[in-house]
Symmetry: C2
Subunit: 134 residues, 2 copies
């Protein structure tokens, strides 16, 4: 399967467009509300689109917020592993781009006799803009 060539359906594209235009992660029902004018009427339509977008790496779920965010890496190779910086003040979320976290976590896991496959990291704190206001 060629991820880059993946062609999105209408519903998937509609959801992705909304997420890409959002400054903050969105919840599923917020997405539903926002795109009802585009003919999407039920939660399931949203969840199905999200599932697919997550599967192909275009969207990530922020587990601790039950929210979804468009991937900001041009060619995200992290369909599975994700790392976020989440501002507790303004709710802005930044995805940590390609880095060596996976390698590091793999080593940490090894020490516990655990075979690393993937990870989800959610770091909370204050973003640049907000920490300067404190």
């Amino acid at each position: 399967m060629n991820l880059l060539a993946e062609k999105l359906t209408n519903n998937q594209q509609t959801v992705l467009d909304l997420l890409e235009g959002s400054k903050e992660p969105l919840k599923a029902y917020a997405i539903l509300f926002d795109i009802q004018k585009k003919g999407i009427k039920s939660p399931l339509q949203v969840y199905r689109a999200l599932d697919k977008l997550i599967e192909i790496g275009k969207v990530h779920k922020i587990e601790s917020k039950n929210s979804y965010i468009a991937c900001n890496n041009s060619n995200c190779n992290s369909q599975t592993s994700t790392s976020f910086l989440i501002c507790e003040i303004c709710d802005k979320v930044t995805e940590l781009k390609k880095n060596n976290l996976s390698g590091y976590f793999s080593k940490v896991s090894d020490k516990s006799n655990f075979k690393y496959t993937k990870h989800n990291l959610e770091i909370y704190g204050a973003c640049k803009a907000c920490k300067n206001k404190i």
Copy 2:
């Protein structure tokens, strides 16, 4: 407030006992089901107990599983930050004990001009027992 001296109420102790006796993380409604014989009748009673136990660091929530687990550190100083190894095969969850992850994440955050406060790390893979079976 002295966390060590914190005295638990009946409901809190009942929930904690159950979690400490469980090999796997439990969901809130599974907890409710298991302790109805002890007089806890409503979800809210469970969630309130969990909230308190999380607040004092005796219990952690595993966000990606909507599940709760007793802290296995004798004196957990991580009421906030948590790190787990989650086996995708048997669902066993191990909490990474006191380590230097916070320091590492603080540095990683700094590079993005972000002030680290706390984190949640969920590593997925295969535990010792399960990876040997593959």
